[in-house]
Amino acid sequence: MEKSRPLWDNSLQFIFACISYAVGLGNVWRFPYLCQMYGGGGFLIPYFIMLIAEGMPLLYLELAVGQRMRQGSIGAWKIISPYLCGVGIASVVVSFFLSMYYNVINAWAFWYLFHSFQDPLPWATCPLNTNHTGYEEECEKTSSTQYFWYRQTLNISPSLETSGSIQWEQALCLTLAWLVVYLCILRGTESTGKVVYVTASLPYCVLIVYLIRGLTLHGAVNGLVYMFTPKLEQLSNPKTWISAATQIFFSLGLGFGSLIAYASYNDASNNCERHAIIVSLINSTTSIFASVVTFSIYGFKATFNYESCINKVILLLMNAFDLEEGSLTADNLNEMKDYLMATHPQEYAQLSPQVKNCSLEAELDTAVQGTGLAFIVYSEAIKNMEVPQLYSVLYFIMLLMLGIGSMLGNTAAILTPLTDSRVIAARFPKEVISGAVCFINCVIGLIFTTEAGNYWFDIFNDYAATLSLLLIVLVETIAVCYIYGIRRFEKDLHTMIGHKPNWYWKIMWAFASPLLIISLFLFYLTDYILTGTLQYQAWDATQGQLVTKDYPGYARAVIGLLVAASTMCIPLGALVTFVRKRLKRSVSTMA
């Protein structure tokens, strides 16, 4: 009796699963940064062009392949051509690397979430030093939120070489994060299908709450105006277009095999064309929505810091010249400064190194991305709101939902090929395989909980997936268009959906998307080669800021291994299949 393949209960579960996977932390912490760096409102133009040229076609392609072949990535590419089994294996390897380090973000989100149930929030004030006469030195040099992140959460070491010991608190949070993921994938699509209802919709509820809260904050308008004023001259900068293409590519999560895995659990007659358009549009809209929220928060934080800066200058001048309280305000500050400079030149000259020029633009210009934005900037803004505990809890639950949603996709990309292969699936039940994968990833992930763990995290984040994915998706597109044949693919889609894809899809698949990917690939390759030594940002506790350092030799070897491990699978897979076929042929001719 053959076991039938588990299916999604309805197509809504499939859409929610794809949205939950695609809408992840990158929408919240990378897109607003790119918007800020590359022309504000004007960045939307290259973003949408790339969505149409690259995002939608490639998403449709992967979903169609998964739905047609009804297998995970390894099986699906083997069916297209036996020489392409390496592509599937490369996808699984990349997904494995990703799931190793991505869950650490969920661990950090859990840590902050658990610490949000205190009054005052632990990152709101600096802790006192040992004899209670002042604040901790490191915290004085930087801000309390940065101190909480670098010292109390990560306990970061000064460089990659000093690896330090495993932080037990972070290890506990990581274990919890993996247990949560295991709970969700335990029963396969049965359990995942129910969980994605929550992980896909809850972030939107929180974003709406934050939108309302953010827009009503004092100074939010400054941030929004700053973001949305288009700086169209950035459109002539090639980096703008490359960043747009990269962001679309990685935001949709192409090439990991998760989309193929999810689509393989679909009914054969599911309209994946419509779903591809829906998912990619929702993904991009969420990015823009999240950046509106982020920029109102930026505006609030920048205005708050600007006003604090002005108040500090006012206090300094009042104390030094014994002026009456209330005589110096933000409005007359500049005139009074000139007046004081004229009447008391010597004392003013003594003070002038301390009198800072406060600028709102300078505060808004501090562009942050990644974990810095999510854990430092946002928590700094939250601590200044009313009822900060509520907003903090909501925010970190949202981060958790986004992170867990993406993790479900990543683990599905690893587990689906494993459960499809008869060798493994016959011997072990589904729960044991998922448990083993979670356990291995958790144990390896303990590296990221050591004191130098954040530096290793940055290595994985920057290098584990970037080049390999570009190559994998390029090979995928060329394989479907030219090896499998676009006519055959058209016919398959016709049987599945009921109509053939129109000329837009075919042109994009055959020419536009591969060309775009090749140019992205070449750009990144030349960029890596030209920069020479690779560098990273290390936290210097004595100065209270980040400093740039070079990667040591063994770290560069690890980077090389990461990239090679996944990209080499493709040619190796083809080679092994070739050798096997040759051997079989020679055996059969001999017999």
């Binding site: 840590w111 658990f114 006192l128 919890l176 295991y182 709970l183 029963r187 309280e325 005589s327």
Partner: protein, 226 residues
């Protein structure tokens, strides 16, 4: 007579000026930020408030040294600015023209800082004695960190969920296995001995499933009588 009075007054004034001036020995600078602390309820700083200040310092000195010799007239205040800031110094009534050492005054004020702050409705940050640093109060720390408690709760819930799903899965699989082995056993037996009528083994028909139709067979008249 008048001249003597004028002379003594000017001597006293000079003495005051000598003892109390900015950066004098054993002198402290005080800075008040009344408008920042009280906003609309701020009071104006005048001679009466100065008098209260002198009284509080004298009170502090008396409490600290427990000898009731310090008088309000021993506290000298000078250089009052609009900010409001001024210098003060405490003279020793037993010895002429000397001021009480810095360390004593500092200790006395430290001991009674709270009372002095409250008299003026201010705090450590808004009533500043510039040379006297205040010790910051340590934050309240519960015995078990709160985050561990929340972590424990969430962990228990998740582990309970996992165990429930795993056990349910095992039970489901056992039931499926039992069903399939039962069916297998029945199929095996039918191959060897049992004759089957419409998929039902005849044995069961005979023993349980068969019905005897009363119309056709009455027990005592099974055979027609000859």
């Amino acid at each position: 007579m008048l001249r003597v009075l004028l002379l003594t007054l000017s001597v006293v004034a000079i003495v005051h000026a000598e003892l109390c001036k900015p950066d004098a020995q054993n002198a402290f600078k005080v800075r008040l930020s009344i408008k920042t602390a009280l906003g609309d309820n701020a009071y104006a700083w005048d001679a009466n408030e100065e008098y209260l200040f002198k009284a509080m310092v004298a009170f502090a000195m008396r409490r600290y040294s427990s000898k009731s010799t310090t008088q309000i007239s021993n506290v000298l205040v000078c250089n009052v600015t609009d900010r409001v800031s001024f210098w003060f110094v405490v003279t020793d009534s037993s010895k002429n023209l000397t001021t009480v050492p810095e360390s004593e005054v500092e200790a006395a004020i430290r001991m009674n800082r709270n009372r002095i702050n409250n008299a003026f409705l201010l705090s450590d940050q808004t009533l500043q004695f510039l040379k006297i640093t205040s010790t910051l109060s340590p934050p309240v720390e519960p015995s078990t960190p709160i985050w561990l408690i929340v972590f424990g709760v969430v962990l228990c819930l998740i582990v309970a969920g996992i165990l429930f799903l795993v056990v349910a899965g095992i039970q489901q699989r056992k039931k499926k296995n039992k069903d399939s082995t039962e069916r297998e056993n029945l199929e095996e037996k039918s191959e060897v001995t049992v004759t089957v009528e419409n998929g039902i083994p005849c044995e069961t028909l005979d023993l349980k499933a068969g019905h005897i139709n009363g119309v056709f067979a009455a027990d005592d008249e099974r055979f027609t009588s000859l």
